[in-house]
């Protein structure tokens, strides 16, 4: 085991010990379950098909909404980077979406969409302005000397976009994707809780709360955290691969 891994394990064990002591002090699993109670509940959940079906559906909703948000944000970012009129026209929309609390959006969206579609739409709404703002900034920060070169060489506009502006914006786009995925995951699950979406992590969290199954509530929360870490790692790996290709290594 490396020194870094040892250090990380030590820190994790410290936190688990604090949690264990606190749970022992409370003495009631339905108020504060111990790490062991939580692990047992998680193992029990993991032995059911419903656990994986709920996770699968939540992933489908969040990743679907995230992908749509990335696509929409990238398109809007490019459009508003080049068109001053579009930028001015769409600026209020960007500000409203950024400033409105996610919970307000969830309740509003529930008026128009089904409880199953709402989390995906919320993930989309959360991700779009993040990617939009970063791509817009990235495109605008393209090296002016390179822009001048492409003009001198009469590189057609679409080719200029593909060969110069989009690669220039890539680091900003990658940062937005990493941040956006975390937000999409958290708000998607929150939307599932409020909307009580069928077959979802959110619904399971909700039910655990209603029926005072606190160890299960903690177990589902642990599953949400673990999945969030896993998704972030996967995203970083994918972006790392793309960066590698972009830099010609």
């Amino acid at each position: 085991m490396t020194r870094r891994a040892l250090k990380a394990t030590g820190i994790t064990l410290c936190y688990l010990a604090v949690w264990h002591i606190a749970a022992a002090a409370v003495g009631k699993a339905f108020i504060l379950p111990s790490p062991l109670d939580t692990a047992k509940a998680l193992l029990a959940l993991a032995s059911t098909g419903e656990f994986y079906a709920s996770i699968g559906m939540t992933l489908l909703r969040v990743v679907g909404g995230f992908a749509a948000g990335v696509a929409a944000g990238a398109l809007l970012g490019v459009l508003t980077a080049f068109s001053g009129l579009a930028d001015e026209f769409l600026a209020p929309l960007r500000s409203i979406v950024k400033a409105t609390p996610v919970t307000s959006f969830i309740i509003l969206v529930l008026l128009y969409l089904t409880s199953s579609l709402t989390p995906a739409f919320i993930a989309f709404l959360v991700v779009t302005p993040i990617v939009w703002a970063n791509v817009r900034a990235g495109v605008r920060s393209a090296d002016p000397l390179l822009v001048e070169m492409t003009k001198a060489y009469r590189v057609p506009k679409l080719r200029r976009l593909a060969k110069l502006y989009l690669p220039s914006a890539f680091p900003d786009f990658a940062a937005a994707c990493t941040t956006g995925l975390g937000f999409a995951w958290k708000s998607g699950v929150a939307a599932e809780v409020i909307a009580n979406s069928g077959l979802s992590i959110g619904q399971r969290l909700n039910e655990s709360k209603i029926y005072f199954e606190t160890p299960e509530l903690f177990a589902w929360t642990a599953a949400v955290i673990l999945l969030s870490i896993l998704l972030e790692r996967l995203m970083l790996k994918l972006l790392g691969k793309l960066t590698h290709e972009r830099e010609g290594n």
Partner: protein, 185 residues
């Protein structure tokens, strides 16, 4: 003839050159000579069609297809040498252009894997690929050894009917052939 009458050139708010007048041949080599900061680069931008005069008249380059080798290499770091050359659309093949600057074996390499002199040659190959009526060169032979300079200069002179070269070293202009001189500074 290419004519400059009382031309003033500015970049942003800053005036770089004032009251420049000259009559230049529309074939051959024109050398823009002067020390650093004398305005050579700004004048190359005028000939390249990238800067309009703030005052005065400039005639003779209308409709000409002009290739440019900027003072900086201006290569796209995420494209290989051959992709950087292919960014320019021209009749000469990418492989031929790389061959003319003696980079045959380096086509797949990315700029950061190339030496400074090699990157310079990729920028020259890109200009060869565009081809056209004129070539604007700004300190083009940085990082190239004497013999290579001579060979590349000969090939450039053969490829373009009109060449503008900005340099602080007059011998670089001489490599391209007989030249008309504009002294700045």
């Amino acid at each position: 003839m290419i004519e400059l009458r009382d031309v003033t050139l500015a970049r942003g708010e800053k005036t770089i050159l004032e009251h420049i007048s000259a009559s230049l041949p529309d074939a051959g080599v024109v050398a823009l000579l002067g020390p650093s900061g004398s305005g050579k680069t700004t004048l190359t931008l005028l000939f390249a069609g990238l800067l309009a005069p703030a005052a005065g008249t400039f005639r003779g380059m209308e409709g000409k297809r002009v290739a440019v080798v900027f003072q900086e290499d201006r290569l796209l770091p995420w494209l290989s040498a051959k992709e950087n050359v292919a960014l320019a659309d021209g009749e000469r093949s990418v492989a031929d252009c790389l061959s003319l600057v003696e980079l045959d074996g380096e086509a797949e390499k990315y700029p950061r894997r190339l030496s400074g002199g090699m990157q310079r040659r990729v920028a020259i190959a890109r200009a060869l690929r565009l081809g056209g009526d004129a070539l604007v060169l700004d300190e083009p032979f940085k990082g190239l050894d004497a013999e290579l300079r001579e060979r590349v200069a000969k090939r450039l002179a053969a490829a373009f009917p009109l060449i503008f070269i900005a340099t602080h070293d007059e011998s670089e202009a001489a490599l391209l052939g007989d030249y008309t001189k504009i002294s700045l500074g």
